[in-house]
């Protein structure tokens, strides 16, 4: 047994002090992070049960803020929109990222240039993205006008003004902004597929489709999960982009929970209502993440017992 361990056995106090820097290095950042997250969440939950309007005050109003928020049209519209936007955006941005990655994986000339072109939108701030796309998608000055001007006069692309379709304009702008990240992840994944597996499959006579299904896509599965998580985070918290692109309009057609929270907390001076909306947002998130966490837990148990 090494000498140091023998000494530490006999003097646990010395051992503890010697390990103090390590202990601090591990725990201080993690506790700061976890601590602030938990305390901020708890604070918001507390505020949601108070009668706070302009500034936080103490008091107890039970579930009044929650029932009021759930009964608000803006929230109901926002909730529906989140389901549509969330699922649509995540699915489409994953597909777009995959498509871009497959294309770039074909060893084309100028791959570096194309990769930079698909990645640069990540560098742009959300406010700029929303503003520029609001110009491009405006039928009077943007894409529709351009296509009409080129001769195809019956072309219409006025989703921005259409109360049913406006939410999809946000999907378009959001995909432009963030598909580069998905592409980067998938490209990394495609490039890390085990060449032996591919050779084995080729020897077995597998065609391209089967190659993808049996070898490549399963390798990409863990990466897909990460992409979905990051894009989900974007979908739930996105705020600046929507505000700049549609402002929640036309009318109230593209309200989203993050906008409602900001609107009620800060614009309307109704802190407690806004806090209740924020807590509801977190509950929606839990509803999505808990089943996934449970599934992963079961998976691990299975593979441990297998």
């Amino acid at each position: 047994m090494p000498a140091a361990a023998r000494t530490d056995r006999r003097r646990p106090a010395v051992a503890a002090v010697r390990r103090l820097p390590e202990f601090l290095t591990i725990w201080v950042p993690l506790l700061l992070s976890a601590g602030h997250l938990i305390s901020f969440a708890l604070w918001t939950i507390w505020v949601s049960f108070t009668p706070s309007t302009l500034v936080p005050v103490s008091g107890w109003v039970g579930l009044r803020n929650y029932t009021a928020m759930v009964a608000t049209r803006n929230w109901q519209i926002a909730f529906d929109n989140l389901l549509v936007f969330g699922s649509g955006f995540v699915l489409l941005s994953v597909l777009m990222g995959l498509l871009l990655a497959i294309l770039l994986d074909q060893r084309i000339r100028g791959e570096n240039v194309f990769r930079s072109i698909f990645l640069y939108p990540l560098a742009v701030s959300f406010v700029v993205t929303g503003t520029v796309w609001s110009w491009l998608l405006n039928p009077g000055i943007g894409i529709q006008k351009l296509v009409n001007g080129l001769g195809w006069t019956s072309f219409r692309f006025d989703w921005l003004n259409d109360r049913e379709m406006a939410i999809w304009t946000i999907v378009i702008a959001a995909i432009w902004q963030s598909s580069g990240f998905a592409m980067a992840l998938f490209l990394a994944g495609l490039r890390s597929v085990d060449p032996d597996l591919i050779k084995a499959a080729q020897i077995d006579g597998a065609g391209p489709i089967r190659m993808y299904r049996r070898v490549i896509l399963p390798t990409l599965w863990p990466i897909t999960v990460t992409v979905v998580v990051i894009q989900l985070q974007f979908a739930i918290t996105t705020f600046d982009l929507v505000r700049a692109l549609t402002g929640g309009g036309p009318g109230t057609a593209t309200q989203l929970p993050a906008l409602v929270v900001y609107d009620f907390m800060f614009q309307r001076g109704l802190l407690a209502r806004g806090a209740a909306a924020a807590v509801l947002m977190l509950l929606i998130l839990l509803a999505v993440l808990l089943p996934y966490a449970a599934w992963r837990y079961l998976q691990r148990r299975q593979s441990a017992h297998a």
């Binding site: 309007t53 302009l54 500034v55 009021a68 009964a71 608000t72 049209r73 803006n74 405006n138 039928p139 009077g140 000055i141 006025d158 921005l160 003004n161 109360r163 549609t246 402002g247 309009g249 036309p250 009318g251 109230t252 057609a253 609107d263 009620f264 800060f266 614009q267 309307r268 001076g269 109704l270």
Partner: protein, 426 residues
């Protein structure tokens, strides 16, 4: 040793007691910390000019403009108040003044207001907003009307019209004539939330100022469900139908080129639109400004006014700064300077606008205000947060903006949704 020490101590203590009085007698250099949202454009220029005047009088001016809109400014104000460090003076307006005055201590300005004789020259509805507890705690600075009628000269020519419409019926007739004469879209308004609010409030105030007062300012239930409100929704629907369907949520300024060219006919906008038109390079003889339509013959004035609120501070130099600022803001010369820069009209009803620095539009607006006050038809704008607190205003505008964008909504549905929204936000 003891005798000397005791006498010395007595002398020094007396000196200490005397010192504060001495300091008060000396002049304290006034200083002012200001928070506002006016960082650019003519608003920014105006407040910078005000700051220069403050410094000319010997003060130190410390203005922190908060970029963004009013919400960002309020966030900053809230953060400062929560940190225990409110600015000596900040921008605030409307019923929010009363609401915010409950969360932090303000300065009682009664003495200064009385000394300047200010209360006599301010419109009563406006003065009321600045005295939430019966005492003056804030001072209004400039007035805009939100229901001015802008007419494109070229569009008027196309409609072969030579009279400015005075009632809503005449307005509607003119719009039809414009359409018949080849004006593609008779209305050039935008689609932002305040803009949608403006369309409705101009309609309601024009149909019946008394109904507007009852419904929008007092939130009387019967008035909210009454025939005037329904008629206002119907008029708003007509206005919306005459607009370019591609407007969506855009700012009205994107329509200005077509407005001037005669492809769009009329705008119901605040007086600030004149400044916007001129800054865009258009000329005064491209358009006509008139008061918004009112059905009972006398002008109705929808008031929008900015103001400064004064937060209590212990520091003597900030207190001196507040006194100086209050005096400046009530001064007719300063109000003249400010309004000439921004294109608004002064708060004081006794300012003479016949001088060179004023435009016809401003003169017409000031005259409209005077007449409206005399006829008790100067009301507070809902769309610009003067009639109600932000929460209630936002709830009402939710209904209005959806109504304007959703052509399938009927006036009856509008009325129902409106009263629901008001009840829900009470």
């Amino acid at each position: 040793m003891n005798k000397i020490t005791r006498r010395a101590m007595l002398a020094s203590t007396t000196g200490l007691i005397a010192a504060p009085r001495l300091a008060r007698a000396q002049a304290v250099k006034p200083r002012l910390t200001v928070i506002s949202q006016w960082s650019a454009g003519s608003d920014g220029a105006a407040i910078t000019a005000l700051g220069k005047k403050f410094e000319e009088k010997g003060g130190t001016w410390q203005h922190s403009p908060v970029p963004g809109f009013t919400t960002e400014m309020m966030n900053k104000l809230r953060a400062q108040i929560m940190a225990g460090d409110p600015p000596a003076c900040s921008q605030l307006k409307g019923p929010e003044i009363a609401a915010w005055s409950k969360i932090a201590a303000t300065v009682n300005l009664d003495a200064l207001v009385a000394a300047a004789g200010y209360e006599k020259v301010v419109a009563p509805d406006l003065a009321r907003l600045h005295k939430p507890g019966g005492k003056w705690i804030s001072l209004p600075l400039q007035i805009y009307s939100t229901n001015m009628l802008f007419l494109s000269k070229r569009a008027m020519d196309k409609a072969k019209a030579d009279r400015i419409p005075v009632t809503w019926a005449e307005f509607n007739a003119l719009a039809e004539n414009m359409k018949a004469g080849g004006v593609t879209y008779p209305i050039a308004n935008g689609g932002t939330r305040p803009d949608d609010g403006q369309k409705f409030e101009a309609a309601l105030a024009g149909i019946s100022p008394a109904a507007y007062r009852a419904a929008m300012m007092t939130l009387d239930e019967k008035a909210l469900k009454g025939p005037e409100v329904k008629a206002a929704f119907a008029q708003a629907r007509r206005i919306a139908d005459w607009m370019d369907p591609n407007t969506a949520a855009q700012h009205y300024s994107v329509n200005l080129p077509r407005f001037v060219a005669g492809d769009m006919g009329m705008m119901i906008q605040g007086g600030w639109a004149q400044g916007v038109l001129l800054n865009a390079g258009f000329k005064l003889d491209d358009f006509i400004i008139a008061p918004g339509p009112c059905d009972n013959g006398k002008p109705v004035f929808l008031l929008n006014a900015d103001a400064f609120i004064f937060w209590q501070r212990k520091e003597p130099d900030l207190q001196a700064g507040q006194t100086l600022m209050a005096q400046l803001v009530m001064d007719p010369a300063i109000q003249t300077m400010y309004s000439q820069i921004t294109g608004s009209i002064p708060v004081r009803t006794d300012v003479d606008l016949s001088g060179a620095g004023w435009s016809d539009g401003q003169r017409r607006t000031a005259a409209a205000l005077k007449e409206a006050v005399a006829a008790n038809q100067a009301v507070l704008s809902l769309a610009h947060n003067m009639a109600q607190e932000n929460g209630m205003t936002a709830a009402i505008i939710d209904v209005l903006t959806e109504y304007v964008k959703n052509k399938a909504m009927t006036p009856d549905q509008g009325v129902a949704r409106l009263s629901n929204a008001v009840e829900g936000a009470r």
